[in-house]
């Protein structure tokens, strides 16, 4: 009744090519942004911000990165966590070498190192496809994970073997380190994620995005259209790793905030991000957010939500049940809706368009 395109005429191509051609969608996005920037910080307590919202934002960014590679370009990767790690350790080295440079600039720069490493490990994609490539990305995962432990230069020879996040400020407010408040860290995360999502959306809606999808859907035909497969795939690896790298740097510097950050970039994390992409929807940016929200919140719901509802569940059991649930949900989603939560969302919108008179 309220959600329909009737009466909205597009008079130029620019309007027709907009990412959200419907006025209602644009209003919706504005409301979401308003809630994210104003509502959440006002309503949420510190625990909510630092244990729910910041992880959600970090995972969303990583999921967008993997979605560009797997969902848009059709190259499956099991090494996302390793590329996140490259971003985190690059950021650490950068803060050591350039203590005067703004931390946000450094976080954004550290993604570039991740992108470079991603391209190196993407080179095998020239000759190998599908499952074989998945195994090749495992090489990246295990090699980099090994390097994070065995190359002490990366963590400045700290005794703990972990990244020690230094305190850095933005406009006088501490952004990283122990003194940074959850609100500040949340705002920085949100700003970065919104900006990078906008860039990702621009890329996938333009020539590059079409090339990626062409490679995904029919690589031979894409090459006969004049798309250089090599370039398209390597750029996808670079962009994807850039997003993963920035997410990794954010994860250590804005979420963990120092300490206990040893050994987080494991294959488990890679899998979790892959699940976010599958459940959220391959080839959908909105889906990346939905998948991240779902997978990231599931353990918290299990741990705190169910006992609050009166279902007694020990911590260990909760973890096992989470595993089973995630596994079962993946299978159910693949069977019922291979396009994930994003497609359910679309179907919902379609229903809404005809509501309340569906015939």
């Amino acid at each position: 009744m309220f959600y329909r395109e009737a009466g909205q005429y597009k008079t130029n191509y620019a309007a027709d090519m907009a990412v959200f051609p419907l006025r209602q969608d644009r209003i919706g996005i504005a409301v979401i942004l308003l809630i994210a920037f104003v509502g959440v910080p006002l309503a949420g307590n510190d625990f909510f911000l630092s244990s729910v919202m910041i992880p959600f934002l970090v995972f969303s960014l990583a999921a967008i990165g993997l979605n560009i590679l797997t969902g848009y370009t059709g190259l499956i990767s099991l090494g996302t966590a390793a590329f996140m790690g490259v971003g985190a350790y690059s950021c650490y080295k950068l803060t050591t070498f350039f203590p005067g440079v703004n931390i946000i600039v450094l976080i954004l720069l550290s993604g570039l190192f991740s992108a470079a490493i991603g391209v190196v490990f993407g080179l095998p994609s020239l000759r190998i496809k599908g499952f074989y490539l998945a195994v090749a990305t495992l090489a990246a995962q295990f090699f980099l994970q090994w390097a994070f432990v065995r190359v002490p230069w990366l963590f400045n020879y700290n005794a703990s073997g972990a990244i020690e996040v230094p305190q850095r400020t933005l406009f006088g407010l501490p952004v990283t380190g122990a003194a940074a408040t959850p609100e500040t860290r949340y705002f920085v995360c949100l700003g970065l994620v919104v900006m990078l999502t906008w860039l990702a959306s621009n890329l996938v809606h333009g020539r590059l995005g079409r090339s990626w999808m062409a490679v995904r859907d029919m690589d031979i035909a894409a090459e006969l259209m004049g798309i250089k497969l090599l370039n398209a795939k390597l750029i996808a690896f670079a962009v994807s790793s850039y997003f993963a790298g920035v997410a990794g740097a954010m994860m250590i510097f804005l979420w963990y905030g120092g300490g206990e950050a040893n050994d987080v970039f494991t294959i488990r994390l890679s899998f979790n991000i892959l699940f976010m992409v599958i459940l959220g929807g391959l080839g959908s940016l909105i889906g990346s957010f939905m998948g991240a929200a779902f997978i990231a919140s599931l353990p918290t719901i299990m741990k705190f939500g169910l006992p609050a509802l009166g279902v007694p569940l020990s911590g260990a059991t909760a973890e096992h049940v989470t595993f089973m649930l995630v596994g079962a949900l993946i299978i159910i989603f693949l069977i019922v809706e291979p396009h994930g939560l994003a497609r359910l969302w679309q179907i919902g919108k379609q229903k809404l368009r005809t509501w309340p008179f569906p015939y």
């Binding site: 079409r210 999808m213 859907d217 031979i220 004049g226």
Partner: protein, 271 residues
């Protein structure tokens, strides 16, 4: 417009321009299997050239050689007066050779619009930075190419499926979208691999109209593989006939139709 007469079947060959592409003594083997043996022919600027022959005659392999997907072991292919050596498919595309496929090879997850826009890839120049911003020059470029694509959509009469994902379209429409995608490349040489396979009469007539219009309006040179002999006879200026990887006839439809070897190849030889 070139001087293509509407009297198609009897069109004299000599009116067409010089050779756009010539194939000389090309042979292609896969291990011990000979797909093409010592085939020579040429395609002249502005003509519609048909390649016919029974199943397994090497027609698709021939197209694959022309656009660089396969590399023949022997012989030479000259395009626009330049002899090519080991051309890669995307280089052939950049040189103006476009192609449709026997089994529709569309990008199934993308809309009709995006599929045809993909054909404009080579014409788009704006770099990564502008694309990431999707404003200013990149947007202007998108709009400029969108206009071209809309013209093609109008030409092929597929306005109504503009935003639908192509994977779910009926076969005839998919073939049309594929033609549009090739057309968007503004090719000088268009290779059509069985553009009318599996179509009903009406769809075939539409497709014939599009092919003729393309040839007339844009002056596109067309090489076409087709099994429907009636269509071939009506559309093409010249026909080359392959059988078991060898050329058995070459000439105007009229000449080919009466060639004894062609008749034998299609109807079998009485022993």
């Amino acid at each position: 417009m070139n001087a293509h007469s509407t009297d198609i079947a009897g069109d004299p060959v000599t009116q067409k321009g010089e050779a756009l592409l010539s194939v000389e003594n090309v042979s292609l083997r896969f291990g011990g299997v000979k797909a093409i043996t010592d085939v020579s022919f040429d395609i002249r600027k502005g003509e519609i050239r048909a390649i016919i022959g029974p199943n397994g005659a090497g027609k698709t392999s021939m197209l694959n050689c022309i656009n660089g997907f396969y590399h023949p072991q022997d012989g030479r292919i000259t395009y626009k007066g330049v002899r090519r050596t080991r051309v890669r498919p995307h280089q052939a595309a950049a040189a103006g050779i476009a192609r449709t496929f026997q089994n529709v090879a569309l990008f199934k997850g993308m809309s009709t619009l995006d599929n045809i826009m993909t054909g404009r890839t080579l014409k788009m120049r704006k770099g990564f930075f502008w694309q990431a911003l999707r404003h200013g020059p990149a947007m202007a470029e998108e709009i400029e190419h969108r206009k071209v694509v809309e013209d093609i959509i109008d030409f092929l009469e597929i306005q109504h499926i503009r935003k639908l994902p192509v994977g779910k379209l009926p076969y005839g429409l998919q073939k049309r979208v594929e033609l549009g995608r090739a057309l968007a490349m503004e090719p000088e040489l268009l290779l059509l691999d069985e553009p009318m396979a599996g179509m009903n009469l009406e769809e075939k007539e539409d497709m014939c109209r599009f092919i003729l219009d393309m040839n007339n309006q844009f002056g596109t040179t067309i090489a076409l593989i087709e099994h429907d002999i009636g269509v071939v006879m009506d559309l093409s200026d010249r026909v080359v006939v392959l059988e078991y990887g060898r050329k058995i006839a070459d000439g105007t439809p009229g000449e080919v139709k009466t060639d004894q070897r062609v008749i034998d190849a299609y109807l079998g030889v009485a022993h």
